[in-house]
Each structure stands twice: as structure tokens, then as C-alpha cells.
């Protein structure tokens, strides 16, 4: 449904490289996640696919149409929700929705079925000015507006940024339902925990794709045994671990530090525990854990950055 071949995009006459040699495919009916931190190039890629920007090189097609040549066709068949909230704040909820419905040559009535589940939640506020809605409500309305013309492909650029945890969860449930109705969805997010809700994901960092796979595939490919460790003095622990010769990587992750060893032998964890106790750590807890998407991301990121000379 979406095909991206070797897309490169630079800004300021080539000084700032936003995307370098991106290639990926999204299948029809897939919920595809583009996962990466701020400034990774997610928005640039979305804008190229929605025909708002021209790539420097490479080609891309959406729903079979070329992003450069057939831009008019694409604009008719996709739904786009930009990262920044972009509806008219001085219009009411209903006015915004009916305005965008008309612009796309349809009516609220005609496609009400599609947005019903979402719209029903904001309908009690339909006469309220959009500027006075909460963050979650705004995103729901923006999604309704992007969906009102029943697009084949839906592009959602960071739809859950700045939205509370409950609304985020609801939002992803809605995306699942839309997917079940056959709409191809490409969504970007900086939240790694949302990655597992996608069918497939691409990890993106500094304009390069680190990996494309299913969430399970990505965690399976971690390839090392990951440990979580905590003690009563966490900051001290991180310093000590970084100075320990047998540790390959160590970083804070929630209440634990995640570490990997350079070589995995049976004795190595015991040796580490004795070493740390001798340094005065108490309440030590070390356990083997399943790597998450974020662990994979950090590992992939360190690998690529050690290849590049450019610091992150």
C-alpha cells in the first residue's frame, strides 16, 4: 500500500540531513508504526508521503500513486493528521467536522458509521469551541476529521504526544478498530511502549532506519541476555557498573538498571554481585529479563552511532 524506495531528504541546501536512504513497504490493511525519538525524521517522512514535501532523491508510492507526480490523486485518497494540533480553535467541534467533510466532498452523515465509535465520545461537546477541549478530546476530533472522507490510507503523525495515559490507550483501541475495517494506517510515535500495539514497526533514528520487523521479531533479534539490577544506591550503582570491566552496556530503565555482559558464563553474575557488595551496595537484586522494544532501540542506536563518527 505504501512503498518507499531510497528516499533521502535534506534541509537548508543539504546541510541538515533529515532522511537518508529510507526504504520500507507497508502492506494493505496493516497498522505500521514508525518509532523514534524527536528529530529522527518521522515528520519529514510523513510529509513526503502526504505530498507536502518533495524528496531529494528516491521514490515513494501511496495507494499506487507516485508521491511527486500523482500528488493530486494521493491528496484525494489519504487521511492525514499532523503532529501539531491543526483544527480551527474558534470553530465548534461540529463546525470543524462538517467543514472538513465538505472540503473532502462528503458529509458527516455519509461516513458517520466510520467515525461513530470515536465521535460518540466527543458528541456531548459538539457545540463547544475546539480551543476549549482537552488534549485527548482534541486528538479524537482530529482523528474524526482525518477519517471523515473514508481514506484508504491514514497517516497519523505522533497522535498520542501530549495525551494522558488513559486517552492514549483508548486511542490505540480505536486504531485497532479502524484497521479491522480495512484502512491501512501508518502511525508515528516517540513512545516505545506503543510499538507492541502495531503489526510491524520501523525503528528510526537520525534519519536512518535501524530495523523493520514485527515487535516480537525485533525483541527476538536482541541476541543477548539482558539483566535488570537494582540496589539502594542507584546512581552509585550506575557509576560502578560503567567502571566494571565485564559489563558491555548499562543504562537506567524504570526502577532497574539494564545491563548486558561481555560474555555470559554461569559465574559472571555472582562475580558481579560480590564485586558490588565489596563497593558497599546493599539490597542488591539481579534478574534476567525479557528485552523490550526500547532495549532493542538503545542497542541498535549504540551500534549505529559507534559506526558513525557523529555523536548523538
Amino acid at each position: 500500500m505504501i512503498q518507499i524506495n531510497h528516499i533521502t531528504k535534506t534541509y537548508n541546501k543539504g546541510i541538515v540531513r533529515a532522511l537518508s536512504d529510507i526504504s520500507l513497504n507497508v502492506e494493505r490493511g496493516e497498522l505500521f508504526g514508525l518509532i523514534g525519538p524527536d528529530g529522527a525524521g518521522k515528520t519529514s517522512l510523513f510529509r513526503i508521503l502526504t505530498t507536502l514535501l518533495l524528496p531529494d532523491s528516491g521514490t515513494a508510492t501511496v495507494a499506487g500513486f507516485d508521491c511527486v507526480k500523482d500528488y493530486k490523486k494521493i491528496r484525494e485518497s489519504v487521511g492525514y493528521m499532523p503532529g501539531k494540533f491543526s483544527l480551527y480553535q474558534d470553530l465548534t467541534v461540529e463546525e470543524n467536522l462538517s467543514f472538513f467533510a465538505t472540503i473532502f466532498g462528503t458529509t458527516i452523515k455519509e461516513n458517520y458509521e466510520l467515525i461513530k465509535d470515536i465521535y460518540i465520545q466527543i458528541e456531548p461537546f459538539k457545540n463547544r469551541r475546539t480551543g476549549q477541549l482537552s488534549g485527548g478530546m482534541k486528538q479524537k476530533l482530529a482523528l474524526c476529521c482525518a477519517l471523515i472522507h473514508k481514506p484508504e490510507v491514514l497517516f497519523l503523525d505522533e497522535p498520542t504526544t501530549g495525551v494522558d495515559a488513559v486517552s492514549r490507550k483508548e486511542f490505540w483501541e480505536m486504531l485497532k478498530r479502524l484497521k479491522d475495517q480495512g484502512i491501512t494506517i501508518m502511525v508515528s510515535t516517540p513512545y516505545m511502549d506503543e510499538a507492541s500495539l502495531c503489526d510491524r514497526i520501523a525503528l528510526i533514528q537520525s534519519g536512518t532506519i535501524l530495523s523493520i520487523d514485527t515487535p516480537e521479531g525485533i525483541t527476538k533479534a536482541y541476541g543477548e541476555i539482558l539483566f535488570g539490577i537494582k540496589s539502594s544506591k542507584m546512581y552509585q550503582l550506575l557509576q560502578d557498573l560503567r567502571n566494571s570491566p565485564g559489563i558491555a552496556s548499562s543504562y537506567a530503565f524504570g526502577e532497574y538498571l539494564h545491563i548486558t555482559f561481555k560474555s555470559n558464563t554461569n559465574k559472571i553474575s555472582e562475580e558481579l554481585m560480590t564485586h558490588l557488595q565489596s563497593l558497599g551496595h546493599t539490597n542488591l537484586d539481579l534478574k534476567e529479563i525479557e528485552p523490550t522494544i526500547e532495549d532493542c532501540f538503545i542497542k541498535l542506536m549504540t551500534n549505529t552511532s559507534s559506526l558513525q563518527t557523529k555523536p548523538i
Partner: protein, 368 residues
């Protein structure tokens, strides 16, 4: 068509829900007209003057009566000595002093020659000149009444007729000038800001990724501001007719038709500014610079263009308000028909076409 209509309705919502915009759109023209039309005329009424009358005879008395009777002067008080004049000027209350020397009437009747001193406060040069002119004509008038019946040997009588504006009313130049300035300012600034706002808010991004043609976005911005401008023209004309007593001499229909051309030119100028600027502040600043200053300086409404150096005279030709000012003056005050203003109208029309072509060339169908 339905899309366009819905877009136009949306624009009206924006205008009517924002009190500040609303006030600026409809309040500004009215306030400006009232300000310029009433307070800031170059006509002087009720200037305070003092009279020092050493003569105290029939002639001086009659002249003072004439001065008191005119609506231009208010004789504050009659001082007895010359010295007090300077003190009165320093206080700043009076604009002019008139001194009649002793034996004024005797000099006049015996030697046929009398002197009258007029002292004016020239720190305000325009007022001083105007007031001395008024006094001279009053004295002249008195002199004529004395010589009535006696034929002087030689006499050239200059008969001056101030055509179209016999009372030399200030409103006659201000109304057309203000009309040009207000219409240009509002049309340019409003269109520029309202298009840039869509960019700034990010709504342009959504509008671009829709089947709605970008050029239609522009078109739908035009309709509301065109209508608003016509309302403004009407309110200015009503004010000038009933409030400032300056009715339109020529055809109202012609005035509206030409105004429409001017409004369209201004809207296209606003469009061009909006294409070139990224933020509402920039758009507002450029609009002000492109409308207020040239209209004030180069339209001929404040300063006569004929007296300017050649480069400025050349530049003044690209100021749309100059042409509109000429047109409005002709229609409103002289009552001229289309045959006298077709050239100016054609120039405005040409400007509109040029601005539209440049805008279309620079119009972006993408973000960058």
C-alpha cells in the same frame, strides 16, 4: 461550489468570533474618518486673538466688529498696551494680535493711508499664514466698502473662484485620501494575515492534503473580505454625506465599480504578502509598511506629488492608492464621469492582473 460556500462561511465565523478583528475591521474606518474629518482639518475656526486699539475711533471700531462677526476669530480681550501682547503670546492662549495705532481714522481719511499691525504666532506656520490671510481679506473688504461709489483711476480686480470646493473645506481632500488608505490597509492586512494564520496554525497542512484546490483556498479568502470592504466603503460614504455634509457629486454606481477594482488590487497585494511571509507578525508588518507609508507620503493626499523630486514621482506611480485617490476625488468632488478616470482605473486593473500573476507564480502547493 458547496466547498467554496462552506469555506466562506468558515471565514465569516473567524471574523465575527474575534472581537479584536471585528473592531478593527469596522471600527477603524469610522474612527479614522471622524478623526480626520473633524479634528484634523486645516481649516481654522474660532482662533483666539487680542486687539490693542489705541485709536478707538470709528474705523477701528468697524474693523473690530467685522472681525468679531466672522466665525474664524474669537476676540479674547482688548488690551490697553503693547507690552502685554508678548506676555499673552507666551502664555500660548492666543494665535494673533492686531494693533490699531493712534489716529487710525484720521490717517485714513486725510492721507488716504493708514497702518494696521498684525502680529501672528509663527511657531505654527500654517495657522499663522491662514489667519493673516483671513485678516487681510476682512480689511480689504472694509476698504472696498469705503471706496464704494468713488472710482479709482486704475483698478485690477482679481476674481477668484475656488471650483468644486468654494468654502475650502478640509474634508474635500481628506475623505478621498482616507478612503484610499483605509481600504488599502484593511484589504491588504486582513487577507495577508488570514492566509498566514492558516500556515501558522498548521491548518494549511491539512487543507493542502485534501482534494480542495489550493487556489480555491485563496478564492474563498477573497469573498468575505470583498464583502466587508464594500460594507466599509458604504459606511465611509454615509459618514461623509450625512456627518461631514460632503455628498458624492458623481455617480455612486461608478464609485462602487471603481472601488471594486481597487479592492481587488488590494486583496491581491495581500495575497502576495501572505505567500512571502511565514508568521502573522511579519505579514502585519509588511502590510503596514506597504500600505500606510506610501499612501500617506506618495498618494498626493498629504503632500503634493508635483513638488517631489523625480525619483519619488516615479515611485509614486506604483502606489495603488495614488490612483484610487485621484479617482475618488474626481467622482466624489468634481462629479466626473468614467471618461475622465478610465486611465487610472485601467492602471489599477493592470496592477491587479500583475499582482495575481506574480502570486500564482510564487504560490506553493507544498510546504517548502
Amino acid at each position: 461550489m458547496k466547498q467554496l460556500l462552506s469555506f466562506v462561511i468558515k471565514e465569516f465565523h473567524h471574523v465575527f468570533r474575534d472581537r479584536k478583528t471585528l473592531l478593527m475591521l469596522f471600527g477603524l474606518p469610522i474612527a479614522q474618518i471622524i478623526l480626520f474629518g473633524f479634528a484634523l482639518t486645516n481649516e481654522i475656526k474660532n482662533a483666539k486673538i487680542i486687539v490693542v486699539d489705541y485709536a478707538k475711533d470709528a474705523a477701528s471700531r468697524q474693523i473690530i466688529d467685522k472681525i468679531e462677526a466672522s466665525k474664524y476669530f474669537d476676540v479674547e480681550n482688548s488690551l490697553s498696551s503693547h507690552e502685554e501682547i508678548e506676555a499673552a503670546f507666551k502664555e500660548g492662549k492666543i494665535k494673533m494680535a492686531i494693533v490699531f495705532p493712534l489716529n487710525f481714522y484720521e490717517d485714513l481719511s486725510r492721507t488716504n493711508k493708514a497702518q494696521l499691525q498684525v502680529i501672528a504666532d509663527a511657531s505654527d506656520i500654517n495657522t499663522a499664514t491662514t489667519l493673516t490671510n483671513y485678516i487681510s481679506s476682512i480689511v480689504m473688504d472694509y476698504q472696498n466698502s469705503l471706496t464704494r461709489g468713488i472710482k479709482p483711476p486704475f483698478q485690477i480686480q482679481t476674481e477668484v473662484r475656488m471650483l468644486y470646493n468654494p468654502q475650502l473645506k478640509g474634508e474635500h481632500t481628506f475623505i478621498p485620501g482616507m478612503m484610499a488608505m483605509i481600504m488599502l490597509l484593511i484589504c491588504v492586512m486582513m487577507t495577508a494575515i488570514s492566509i498566514v494564520r492558516e500556515k501558522e496554525l498548521g491548518t494549511m497542512e491539512i487543507l493542502l492534503v485534501s482534494p480542495f484546490k489550493p487556489i480555491m483556498v485563496i478564492a474563498s479568502k477573497f469573498v468575505p473580505y470583498l464583502l466587508i470592504s464594500l460594507v466599509n466603503i458604504t459606511s465611509i460614504l454615509l459618514l461623509s454625506t450625512y456627518f461631514l455634509k460632503l455628498p458624492v457629486q458623481g455617480s455612486i454606481f461608478l464609485l462602487y465599480a471603481v472601488s471594486l477594482v481597487f479592492i481587488i488590487t488590494s486583496l491581491f497585494l495581500g495575497l502576495l504578502i501572505s505567500i512571502k511571509s511565514e508568521s502573522q507578525q511579519t505579514a502585519m508588518f509588511i502590510s503596514l509598511m506597504a500600505t500606510m507609508l506610501p499612501t500617506l507620503l506618495l498618494s498626493g493626499f498629504m503632500f503634493p506629488i508635483e513638488n517631489m523630486p523625480l525619483p519619488l514621482r516615479v515611485i509614486s506611480n506604483i502606489v495603488p492608492s495614488k490612483w484610487f485617490y485621484i479617482i475618488v476625488k474626481s467622482i466624489m468632488i468634481k462629479g466626473s464621469g468614467f471618461q475622465t478616470i478610465w486611465k487610472e482605473t485601467l492602471i489599477l486593473f493592470g496592477m491587479a492582473v500583475a499582482l495575481l500573476l506574480i502570486s500564482l507564480r510564487n504560490f506553493k502547493i507544498r510546504l517548502a
